[in-house]
Every structure is written in structure tokens, then in C-alpha cells.
């Protein structure tokens, strides 16, 4: 079923359908924004509660430099933390999978650490590493690696032991079995975690900036709040939303390219 639809999508004939699918949400979005604009004007809602979408857009256009700089900075922090966290998460899963004793000793701690409001560490981490890009990346890293470890282990456990025995009987070593059997088997679960981790990493970066920084979306949010600048808050929310959705769709795109056989989830 999935095979048919992917092969159909690669045909040139289907490309109009694809364009249509891409344009449709944009149309809905434009329609929704227009409706809000009209509603706000008609009901005379004060900007304090809901500013007009055009006012938000004008706010962004007035000082695009500040928003772009903030976006870029927060993106760097998130991306650094996310990539490092994902790699570390998979590595930990491999280690926990290989050495059961280590898993029994430390995996419960990992799970407990997931229930710790990681944000509370923000202050400590910023103190350790200073007001740097690196400190925020560390917070993003810490938040994002755990779901990756948990889901990769879950994916590993779905491997049929008979397949492992088969590969072993052909003389495959541990590394080969890991690369050709375990990792591909874990990919669908891994991507579920990566999607979650990408948004968690962004939250970590934004909150990390609250503990002191000069640029970034979190800083813009705080500044707008202290000035009771509701339009500014909305503008930053819109920019953060774009970043969040961008990251999410990037990971989804990678998922569709890499896990072409489709996940069960």
C-alpha cells in the first residue's frame, strides 16, 4: 500500500496533486488569518488580548534584524543540542543493549531523571558553562537524549532473535549485526522519538535563554513580557512557531526519506 503511493508520488503526473497538497494548508492559513483580522476589527478586541495579525506582521517587518538574529541563535542552540542528544541517545541505547548489567544499574536512574523538571537545571547549567551558546545547547542536549534512548531500546527489542542467530550462523560479527539488523529495526521507533526530541530541544534552548543572554527567541519573549508588549510577544511566538514547525517537518522529511518502508506508529 505504502509502496504503491510512494511510487505514484514520484511520477510526474502526480506532481500537480503534490502542489495542491502543499498549497491547501497555506490557503487555509491565509483564510484563518483574514478571519481573525476581520473579527478583531469588528469586535474591537483590544490589542492587549489579541492584536491583529497584520499588526504582528508589521512588528516583525519593522525590526526584522532582531527576530532573524534571535531565530538564528536559538536555531543554533537547538540544532547543536538536538544532534548531540540524538547521537548520544542512540549510543547509550547501544551500550545498554550490549551490557545488560549496565542497563539494570543505570537505566532506572535515566528514567527517574526524565521525571526531573530539567528546566530547573537551567540555572545550574548556565552557571557551569557561562552565558554561552554552549550552555543552552547542553540543556537542549540533556532534554532530548532520553526519549531517543528509550525508543531505540524499544526498537531493538522488536528484533526477532532468530534473525540474529541466522546472521551469526553466517559469521556476522556484533558490529555487522548492529548495523544491518538492530539499527534498521529501531529506525521507525527512533524517528518517533526524534520528532519529540526536536521540539523538546527547542523548549530547552528557549528556557535556557531565560537564565540570561542577549540574543535569542527566549530573550525576545522576556523583553516583550517585561515591557507588556503583547504585539512583540505574539511576533516572537510566531517566529518560534515557524522554527518549531520547521524542525518538525525537517525530521518528518528525513523520516519519509530514510524509513521508506513506513513505521507502524
Amino acid at each position: 500500500m505504502t509502496g504503491v503511493s510512494t511510487s505514484a508520488a514520484t511520477l510526474p503526473v502526480a506532481s500537480t496533486g503534490r502542489v495542491h497538497a502543499a498549497v491547501k494548508p497555506v490557503l487555509w492559513l491565509a483564510l484563518g488569518l483574514l478571519a481573525i483580522e476581520v473579527l478583531v476589527m469588528a469586535l474591537e478586541i483590544r490589542p492587549y488580548y489579541l492584536p491583529r495579525p497584520s499588526a504582528i506582521a508589521a512588528n516583525i517587518m519593522a525590526t526584522p534584524g532582531a527576530y532573524l538574529a534571535g531565530l538564528w541563535r536559538t536555531f543554533l542552540e537547538t540544532a547543536l543540542g538536538f544532534v548531540a542528544g540524538s547521537l548520544f541517545g542512540v549510543l547509550m541505547a547501544v551500550i545498554f543493549h550490549r551490557w545488560v548489567t549496565l542497563r539494570e544499574l543505570f537505566f532506572p536512574l535515566f528514567v527517574v531523571s526524565q521525571t526531573i523538571p530539567v528546566i530547573a537545571f537551567g540555572a545550574v547549567v548556565v552557571l557551569w558553562f557561562g552565558n554561552t551558546l554552549f550552555a543552552k545547547a547542553v540543556i537542549s542536549f540533556y532534554i532530548s537524549f532520553l526519549p531517543v534512548t528509550v525508543n531505540t531500546l524499544l526498537g531493538f527489542s522488536s528484533v526477532d532473535p532468530r534473525q540474529v542467530q541466522l546472521m551469526r550462523s553466517f559469521g556476522a560479527n556484533d558490529v555487522q549485526i548492529l548495523r544491518r539488523l538492530y539499527l534498521p529495526a529501531a529506525l521507525p521507533q527512533l524517528f518517533v522519538a526524534l520528532k519529540l526530541a526536536s521540539s523538546l530541544a527547542l523548549v530547552g534552548a528557549i528556557v535556557g535563554e531565560w537564565f540570561g543572554d542577549t540574543t535569542g527567541l527566549g530573550v525576545l519573549l522576556l523583553q516583550a513580557m517585561y515591557n507588556e508588549n503583547v504585539v512583540g510577544i505574539w511576533a516572537t511566538i510566531v517566529v518560534s512557531a515557524c522554527l518549531g514547525m520547521g524542525l518538525y517537518s525537517l525530521v518528518s522529511l528525513a523520516e519519509r526519506k530514510i524509513v521508506f518502508w513506513g513505521g507502524e506508529q
Binding site: 487555509w28 544499574l105 523538571p117 540555572a123 531565560w210 519573549l221
Partner: protein, 253 residues
């Protein structure tokens, strides 16, 4: 078989405790041995001491934060489930609502918190709203996923016996969806405590987030760690309670 399982889980608990003790010992030794200042890493014993010293204010803050998280959690679960059921009952709404919800869900929740603080003030209301928003999206998406899992043939069968839309929902869709719903609820417990604390950091009159923020300003890092420990025991208890309910009542998964 059950005896074997028990001894196995007892061994796992023992190993887990051993791991925790090992980490605590290494922490204590490195903090004391390297003579690290409290703002870098306070020793475990000094954190426990701080926990005892500030017991009164921490307990008050913990009650405050727990009340906010729980109230927001309940509201969020109810809203999320109701919205999901509505969307499944009205197929036309689906193609609009679902992409929108997925998109909004990928926006970092904390981005809304300044706005919610301005709207609802510094008191409990703003935290409850934030938690409810964060929880309802997770519950909404997992409920939708759960309601969709139902087998087409089972629906056809139960309809052929004359069941209406509501009966299909109550007798078939909800029981099928419950494992996924409660899994979403389990994940949301931790999230609700985190969101409450983060919002408290931005502005509040009490609560663990407020204590943490004040302690950071006063460079009292023993208190920060003590508050972190209290916060994680709240979310662990909450998480444990929902997991218990899950194991007890969702036996058919």
C-alpha cells in the same frame, strides 16, 4: 512463573537502587574530595541538609505547585479527550483540525507563557491554564491515534447488530483507544509539573519554580537542588500513580 517474575523484578529493583547509590556516592565523593564550591556542585548530604532546613517553605511551595499541576492536568485531559471524540464524530472537521493541532503542538509551549501570564495574572490561574494547554494537546493527539486504531471490520460487525454512532464509540472505540490515551496521560504527568514550574519561574507568588528562581538570584544553590529534588518527587509520585491506574484498570492491552 509469578514467583520467578517477582524475584526477577526484585533483582531489578535491587540493581536500580545499587546504581542510584553508586551515583550518589560518586557525587558525594567528588563534591567533597575535589572541594567543589556549592554553586558548582553541592554534596548530596548538604542538599539533604538543605531539604530539612527549608522543609516548611518547600512543603508549602510543593503543595502550591502540585495543586496547579493537578488542576491543569485534569482540565487538560478532559478537554483533550472531549475534543478528540468530537473530531472523530465529525469526520469533516478532521482534515482541518488535525494538521492544525499537529502544527500547534510543534510550537514550544513555553513560548505562550509570557502571554498567559499577562492575561491571567501572576496567581495560580495562569499556571493552571498553561498546564491545561500543554496537556490537552498531548491527550488530544494520543486519543485521536487511539480512536483510529479500531478495526474497520469490528465497526461493521457491531453496526450490523444495530449499534448507533454513540454505541460504537462507547463499546468499541473508547476501549480500543484507552491504552494509548492512558499512555499519553502517563507522559503528560511529568510534562504538567515541568510546565507549572517553568511558568512559575517567569512570575508567581509561590511554588517550586518561584523558589528555584529566587534561590538562583540569591546564589543559594543548595536550595536550588533541594527544590529540584522536591519537584522530581512530585512528578515521580504523579507518574507512579497514573502507571498504577494503568496497570490496574487497562488490563486488556
Amino acid at each position: 512463573m509469578s514467583a520467578y517474575m517477582q524475584s526477577d523484578s526484585a533483582r531489578q529493583i535491587g540493581r536500580g537502587l545499587a546504581g542510584a547509590l553508586l551515583v550518589a556516592a560518586i557525587w558525594e565523593l567528588s563534591a567533597r574530595g575535589l572541594n567543589l564550591p556549592a554553586y558548582v556542585l553541592p554534596s548530596v548530604t548538604s542538599i539533604l541538609g538543605g531539604l530539612v532546613n527549608d522543609a516548611a517553605s518547600l512543603a508549602k511551595a510543593a503543595r502550591y505547585t502540585a495543586a496547579e499541576s493537578f488542576a491543569g492536568y485534569v482540565i487538560g485531559c478532559l478537554v483533550g479527550m472531549a475534543a478528540a471524540v468530537l473530531v472523530t464524530m465529525i469526520p469533516a472537521a478532521r482534515s482541518v483540525v488535525l494538521p492544525l493541532a499537529t502544527a500547534i503542538n510543534s510550537v514550544p509551549v513555553v513560548a505562550y507563557s509570557p502571554l498567559v501570564l499577562l492575561w491571567f495574572g501572576m496567581g495560580m490561574a495562569s499556571k493552571i491554564v498553561m498546564v491545561a494547554v500543554a496537556v490537552s494537546f498531548t491527550i488530544f493527539l494520543s486519543t485521536i491515534a487511539g480512536l483510529d486504531r479500531v478495526d474497520r471490520k469490528s465497526v461493521d460487525l457491531i453496526r450490523s447488530f444495530g449499534a448507533g454512532r454513540l454505541a460504537v464509540l462507547w463499546r468499541l472505540r473508547l476501549p480500543t483507544a484507552l491504552p494509548l490515551i492512558i499512555a499519553g496521560m502517563r507522559v503528560s504527568t511529568v510534562r504538567s509539573v515541568i510546565v507549572a514550574i517553568v511558568t512559575e519561574m517567569l512570575g508567581a507568588y509561590d511554588g517550586l519554580g518561584w523558589i528555584i528562581y529566587q534561590a538562583v538570584l540569591q546564589i543559594d544553590f543548595v536550595k536550588v537542588w533541594a527544590a529540584i529534588i522536591v519537584a522530581s518527587s512530585i512528578s515521580l509520585t504523579f507518574f507512579g500513580a497514573i502507571s498504577f491506574i494503568e496497570r490496574r484498570y487497562v488490563f486488556w492491552r
